[in-house]
């Protein structure tokens, strides 16, 4: 346990991800190395197309890098089986996507319960937990609404509740306030700060909003797929 506490939670070593479009090869991220400690709130900033989302998807085990490796608690993600990688995404990581990625014909509570279904939780327990997390994000009165009937801000909060419901160690948020007005954006940011402070949750926050990024403990700049030192 002590050994694990000393290890960085996340270590990225010389990671490169390439995309192929016809004959053309595009480097989404190239030779990126960074370390994230347990309980850090890190902002990843950069212009559109700079590779921010690719970096978070590599960290989240959604994309396998072409080169380099990602270590979580000292374990290499690339070497893990489908079972281990799926368990990692289900238990260790919580994703809040830029475009929410909710199932439109499911209700708010059904969307939040998705990671719990995969984890094999019983129906009553799922409903109880999903409802609690929807209440935390302020949607306790709309749990049975279909998400396509909710506003952008409400959908964002459903996505946050879903990311948190399995109590992950790492929360990855991609433009968490991107589609919200400033008031709603501040609300979401406050929720993230509270989670970081009270539960020591490690948060990686992708944003191009520098004002928001300044509220993080550390800012990582990325441009053209490379880390930029400022």
């Amino acid at each position: 346990m002590g050994m694990q506490q000393n290890l960085p939670l996340l270590k990225i070593e010389d990671v490169t991800k390439l995309y192929h479009r016809g004959q053309e090869t595009i480097t989404a991220i190239g030779h990126i190395s960074l370390t994230v400690q347990r309980g850090e709130l890190v902002a990843i900033v950069g212009p559109s197309g700079s590779g921010k989302t690719t970096l978070t998807q590599v960290i989240g085990g959604l994309i396998t890098p072409d080169q380099g490796r990602v270590l979580v608690d000292g374990k290499v993600l690339k070497k893990q089986s489908d079972k281990e990688l799926s368990a990692y995404r289900n238990q260790k990581i919580g994703f809040v996507f830029q475009n929410f990625n909710l199932i439109p014909y499911y209700t708010a509570v059904e969307n939040v319960a998705i990671p719990l279904i995969i984890a094999g939780k019983r129906s009553e327990e799922r409903h109880k937990l999903a409802t609690r997390y929807l209440e935390i994000v302020g949607l306790g009165n709309k749990i049975h609404r279909r998400v396509n009937e909710l506003s952008g801000g409400e959908r964002q909060r459903v996505a946050i509740a879903r990311a948190l419901v399995n109590r992950p160690e790492i929360l990855i948020t991609d433009e968490p306030t991107g589609s919200l007005d400033s008031v709603r954006g501040q609300e979401i940011m406050s929720i993230l700060e509270k989670l970081n402070a009270e539960q020591e949750m490690t948060i990686l926050m992708v944003t191009h909003d520098l004002m928001l990024a300044k509220r993080a403990e550390r800012i990582i700049h990325i441009q053209d797929g490379q880390l930029v030192k400022r």
Binding site: Q57, G60, L62, I63, D82, K83, S86, A87, Y88, R89, N90, Q91, F95, F97, N101, L102, I103, Y105, Y106, I114, P115, I117, I118, A119, G120, R122, S123, R162, N166
Partner: protein, 447 residues
């Protein structure tokens, strides 16, 4: 992940694409109905063949004929060739046949050619008579009345049920007992009951007699059941001899010719102890130099025919199910294509490839299960409708009422299993495609 969660998720997706799912299920229902009805008709017709030929007692009978190639009455049967040196069937033949192992009894079957037609006192119409003489100990299977009191009982008949129905007594055969029939002979009949020309009759008187018929009154003592004997009139063997004995006044002497003894019996009916021994006995009869036909062989030929029908109808049903299964493949492929984004969400939230595959397999299995179940239920109803219609038709034609379409429990259950299995098979490739999608690629809707 719990099993009922798979079902719940799959049902949500089926509801999402309501019209498409409904059409796919409809195709499965139609194919299952075809499967159930086709197999039910094939199965039912096989059973109907057995029922039409009566009980297993009837199947143990062999009809021994003079030395002829054995032909059959089945749809695929061949013709019979008469052998000029055919052995006569007489009491000595009965003795020979009786000692064949597994033969329970052997009795003569005689056709009384001399009787041409009959009518009933107070009845309507005149009917062509097919009259047979049989010993009293032969059990005909009666719907009403009794067997003959003795082998020589005269002027009494057992009426075939088909005649009873034609006379309007199909529903009340018992009321026919004791009624009188008038049997009309062929012209120039010289058997019992005929007033033959005197010894000194002129040629003109004799010629006139030869152009006249005789009427023989008989009392009905029994009515057969609706089995194989329903199209005949039966008289006692002794009286059959008397009917077939021609008399001539030759000077002062009355000469008689027992044509039944001269010609021999039309056939000898052999009763075998069990159905399984019929073939062996038939072979033994053939080795003795006689021809033979058995109800069993006719039934077997008919069953071969119905099996052929079964194979054809079954093939039609399987083709229908394959067509419906292709519909399931199409539906599931479209679902996978449309649901890439959802697959990506499940994968991003930690779902394994196996989970995604199972999810789509459960969905296609559910389509098969619902289609199969509804199709089986509708098939059962259609089967009952066919039975009602065919029974009314069979009844009006004088056949035994039987179910043409039989839907046993195993058929209904089997159809559901087959349709569900086809659903799973049809869903396998789309499910495999869904499972192997890269989560990030799927999240971007396949871009």
């Amino acid at each position: 992940m719990r099993f009922f969660d798979y079902i719940s998720i799959a049902l949500k997706d089926i509801r999402r694409q309501y019209t498409r799912s409904l059409l796919t299920i409809l195709a499965l229902i139609i194919s299952t109905v075809i499967l159930v009805v086709m197999v039910a008709i094939s199965f039912g017709s096989r059973q109907a063949v057995l029922q039409q030929f009566g009980s297993s007692d009837a199947l143990t009978g062999i009809s021994v004929t003079p030395n002829q190639t054995s032909g059959t009455l089945g749809p695929l049967g061949d013709v019979q060739q008469v052998n000029a040196s055919a052995s006569k069937l007489d009491d000595a033949t009965i003795t020979k046949l009786s000692v064949i192992p597994h033969v329970r009894s052997a009795y003569p079957d005689t056709h009384i050619w001399e009787i041409a037609s009959f009518s009933m006192d107070g009845g309507r119409g005149r009917y062509v008579a097919q009259v047979n003489g049989i010993p009293r100990d032969v059990s005909l299977g009666l719907k009403a009345g009794t067997q003959f009191a003795s082998n020589d009982e005269s002027n009494v008949v057992i009426l075939g049920y088909a005649y009873a129905k034609a006379l309007g007594y199909g529903n009340a055969p018992t009321t026919l007992i004791g009624k009188t029939l008038q049997l009309t002979t062929q012209k120039g009949y010289r058997g019992i009951g005929a007033t033959i020309p005197a010894a000194n009759a002129t040629e003109r008187e004799t010629n006139t007699y030869n152009q006249s018929t005789t009427t023989l009154p008989v009392t009905i003592i029994g009515v057969t059941d609706s089995g194989v004997n329903q199209n005949s009139l039966f008289v006692s063997l002794g009286w059959a001899h008397a009917l077939r004995t021609a008399r001539y006044n030759d000077g002062a002497q009355l000469k008689t010719v027992d044509q039944l003894s001269n010609d021999g019996y039309t056939a000898i009916q052999v009763v075998v102890d069990t159905v399984s021994n019929v073939k062996a006995v038939a072979d033994a009869v053939r080795q003795l130099g006689y021809g033979q036909t058995s109800t069993l062989s006719q039934v077997e030929e008919l069953q071969q025919f119905t099996t052929m029908v079964w194979v054809i109808l079954g093939a039609v049903a399987v083709i229908a199910i394959i067509a419906a299964a292709l519909g399931v493949v199409n539906t599931m492929l479209m679902t996978v294509s449309e649901q890439q984004y959802v697959i990506g969400i499940w994968r991003a939230c930690g779902a394994r490839k196996r989970f995604i595959m199972s999810l789509f397999l459960v969905e296609s299995a559910l389509l098969g299960l619902v289609g199969g179940t509804l199709g089986s239920i509708i098939g059962i109803f259609i089967g009952q409708f066919i039975n009602q219609y065919s029974n009314a038709l069979l009844s009006s034609q004088g056949f035994v009422i039987t179910n043409i379409a039989t839907v046993p429990l195993w058929l209904a259950g089997g159809a559901i299993v087959v349709t569900t299995a086809f659903g799973i098979l049809a869903g396998f490739y789309p499910a495999y495609r869904a499972a192997r999608q890269d989560p990030s690629y799927a999240l971007n809707g396949g871009q």
